[in-house]
């Protein structure tokens, strides 16, 4: 393909949706309204862990504009897990809570009303009878033998094919620790982060004359959400027509199938369009965050800066439910040793449940927290052996053909070239030996 034949590659191409954005013509979910549309607002748990003893809607029903309430008994398949589509199980998250709640803000009952104000007022008048239970709020506390157990299968961790965590075993770390000149340890903790998109999560579900339901949604995962919604509502997939389009900021925060199932159910039950849109407070407190991670590193390092052993024990705080975290931990385990050639690696990656806001996807999910830990650990290693931090990275950088701890062969490595480019950009002069390095060099270190 000659350069002349390329019309788009190498050109700056203006956004197809740019004009719509600057004229205000782009349609977002909240811009969609129907004359007979109802509003759905959620009754939520005020505490992190409790048994539900009863719900009383009698005062809520008196609010002018109240249409109906939905509880777990209205949901055909109430307990699900979104990754069931890729074989992850068992189901453990209820659309609407049944006998207990596992996080502050958890959905308990849906109120549908003629106006948003009526729905909010009715929600405030639902009486909850809860028996509060001790909450577990720390990943390591959750794994102690005396911790309250949150999951029906009897553990506070996700079970990976019969194991208590994701495990990577490569070489013999204990033997390498004995041979190492230095042992460098570190404990790293990342915070949960809220995506805070300018547009909040939401959808409008509209029953159509032909019996189908059209769902206008700002989900980032259109088919994923459609499929899960169909499974939850126990309807054939073709009964649902999901319309996506412009997402007003996602960053991974709109992949969790949270609003569509219940809004669609409400539309089916009432025969009218139903809008369910998070308020800013719900977006902050209830929608999935980037889950927090705690990582313990123990490295065996030689005098010349080579890392010969790395042992990592990490705890992902999934919060109350799976969402995407079991998958994130798998991805995390494949990356947490870093882009470095280390001959002995031992990784235990836990997916832990706590009574906290469920975590889920956010940019580089599973890997970004690991990158933070890896690189700070590299700086620590540099300090421990008295070496320049740039040098430590060059010395340990992985190359094409190396075997990663999870048995994958490295292809198209570019870490060395990226560090070289970074050094040039910031005006840092590298020694010749590092300037000359290439990812394709296969000489043994």
């Amino acid at each position: 393909m000659t350069q002349e034949a390329l019309k788009v590659v190498g050109q700056s191409v203006l956004r197809r949706d740019g004009m719509g954005h600057v004229t205000g013509k782009t349609i977002y979910v909240d811009d969609i309204n129907f004359p007979d549309m109802l509003h759905l607002k959620m009754v939520r748990s005020p505490v992190p862990h409790a048994k539900i003893k009863g719900l009383d809607f009698s005062e809520a029903e008196k609010v002018p504009g109240f249409v109906r309430a939905l509880t777990y008994q209205d949901v055909p398949k109430n307990v699900y897990t979104i990754l069931c589509l890729i074989g992850v199980g068992p189901d453990e998250e209820p659309v609407l809570a049944e006998d207990k709640v596992l996080y502050k803000g958890e959905q308990i009952a849906a109120i549908v009303a003629e106006t948003e104000e009526a729905a909010m007022e009715a929600v405030s008048k639902v009486r909850l009878d809860l028996e509060e239970l001790p909450a577990v709020l720390d990943v390591e506390d959750a794994l102690r033998p005396d911790a309250p157990i949150l999951k029906d299968w009897g553990t506070n961790y996700f079970v990976y094919e019969g194991h208590h965590c994701r495990r990577v075993r490569f070489g013999d770390v204990e033997k390498a620790f004995e041979e190492a000149d230095n042992i460098v340890e570190g404990r790293y903790q990342t915070s949960p982060i809220e995506h805070a998109p300018t547009e909040t999560t939401g959808c409008v579900a509209k029953p159509e004359a032909d019996g189908r339901v059209t769902v206008y949604t700002n989900t980032q995962a259109l088919f994923f959400t459609l499929d899960n919604t169909a499974l939850i509502l126990q309807v054939p997939f073709q009964k649902l027509h999901f319309v996506g389009g412009t997402v007003g900021g996602g960053f991974g925060g709109k992949v969790d199938v949270i609003v569509e199932p219940i809004a669609t159910l409400a539309a089916m039950k009432t025969g009218r369009p139903v809008k369910y849109k998070f308020t800013r407070e719900e977006e902050m407190r209830v929608s999935s965050s980037r889950g927090a991670w705690r990582m313990y590193y123990k490295d065996g390092v030689m005098k010349d800066g080579r890392i010969i052993a790395r042992k990592v024990t990490s705890y992902a705080d999934a919060g109350a439910y799976n969402r995407h975290t079991p998958y994130a931990v798998t991805k995390h385990a494949a990356n947490v040793a870093g882009p470095y050639r280390i001959p002995n690696v031992w990784i235990d990656g836990y997916c832990v449940y706590t009574n906290r806001q469920p975590g889920s996807a956010m940019r580089g999910f599973g890997v970004t927290p690991a990158s933070f830990a890896i690189e700070v650990q590299m700086d620590k290693i540099a300090e421990a052996v008295g070496m320049d931090p740039w040098a430590v990275r060059f010395i340990n950088a992985y190359r094409d053909g190396d075997i990663k701890p999870h048995q994958k062969v490295v292809e198209d490595a570019t870490l060395i070239e990226v560090i070289q480019a970074a050094a040039e950009l910031v005006g840092h002069e590298l020694p010749e030996e590092f300037k000359k390095m290439k990812s394709s060099d296969r000489e043994e270190v």
């Binding site: 104000e117 909010m120 007022e121």
Partner: protein, 276 residues
């Protein structure tokens, strides 16, 4: 309860009558920057609301050595008045352009902590607040207006109508420290007004916000400064006194210990600025 009535009285008298008629559950608002978010989120569901924008309380006038500011005067207006630069500096640190166009000097007195940064300038200048009710008018020093966390000296049926701010005779400083450079709640905000006679400090006011149940005066720090020459020792001692006497709390913005530390740092910076 969806709001059933929104009144826009055309005078203070009319506003007072409405409050008397409709009772203490009536929500009073001016710019709406504090009340409307709560209503929009469904946290506050007032049946009746009285809006003060048209009640004739939007003015800035000068009477001898005092500037009289109507309670619904916007924070933007504080930026353009030239009488007291400190008020403009304090107003500038509240919100962004649109919020300042809507937020009022009276309304800001009711902002939930750690918001409410405008008041430090008022406290530092010994401002008075005018309260009007069915029984008439009373005037209080602003320092006595705040009685606790989210509580004030306002009695049911009363309105804040005016702030009376003496034009400062000395040097004033305003500083604010937040997690972001602008449009952010305070970790600590402060205003200082010092009068020097030759080398000696004859008058000192130091007001802080973000470090207590409400905007407050650091009276012990003030005591250290009066009579001093604002030298290094006095500054250090005053900053330490302010850090000790304030009562910060931990919230998602900052922890108690960090707020206290920052009081020391920022009081020091403010005083160093005055010392020149």
């Amino acid at each position: 309860m969806t709001t059933q009535a929104y009144y826009l009285p055309q005078s203070v008298d009319e506003a007072i009558s409405l409050l008397a008629e409709h009772g203490p559950a009536t929500l009073v608002m001016a710019g709406g920057t504090i009340a409307m978010p709560l209503i929009n989120e469904g946290i506050s569901l007032p049946e009746k609301v009285v809006g003060l924008r048209q009640a004739g309380l939007n003015y800035v006038s000068r009477s001898n050595g005092t500037v009289e500011i109507g309670a619904t005067t916007t924070l933007t207006r504080m930026l353009t008045q030239e009488e007291i630069p400190l008020l403009g500096q304090a107003a500038y640190h509240v919100g962004g352009w649109a919020i300042r166009n809507m937020g009022t000097v009276g309304g800001n007195l009711f902002a939930p902590p750690p918001a409410g940064d405008f008041a430090v300038a008022l406290l530092a200048l010994d401002a008075q607040v005018v309260l009007v009710g069915e029984d008439g008018q009373r005037v209080l020093p602003l320092a006595e207006f705040y009685t606790g966390f989210m509580t004030t000296a306002l009695t049911p049926g009363e309105l804040v109508t005016e702030l009376r701010v003496p034009v400062p005779k000395g040097v004033t400083v305003y500083l604010k420290y937040g997690r972001r450079q602008a449009n952010t709640p305070a970790i600590v905000s402060l205003a200082a007004h010092l009068v020097l006679d030759g080398e000696k400090v004859t008058h000192a006011r130091l007001a802080l916000n973000g470090v207590g149940a409400h905007p407050l005066r650091a009276t012990r720090a003030e005591g250290v400064l009066v009579g001093s020459t604002l030298d290094e020792t006095a500054i250090t001692e005053a900053a330490a006194a302010a850090a000790e006497e304030c009562e910060p709390f931990t919230d998602p913005i900052a922890s108690e210990w960090y707020r206290r530390k920052m009081v020391n740092v920022y009081v020091r910076r403010a005083l160093a600025q005055v010392a020149g």
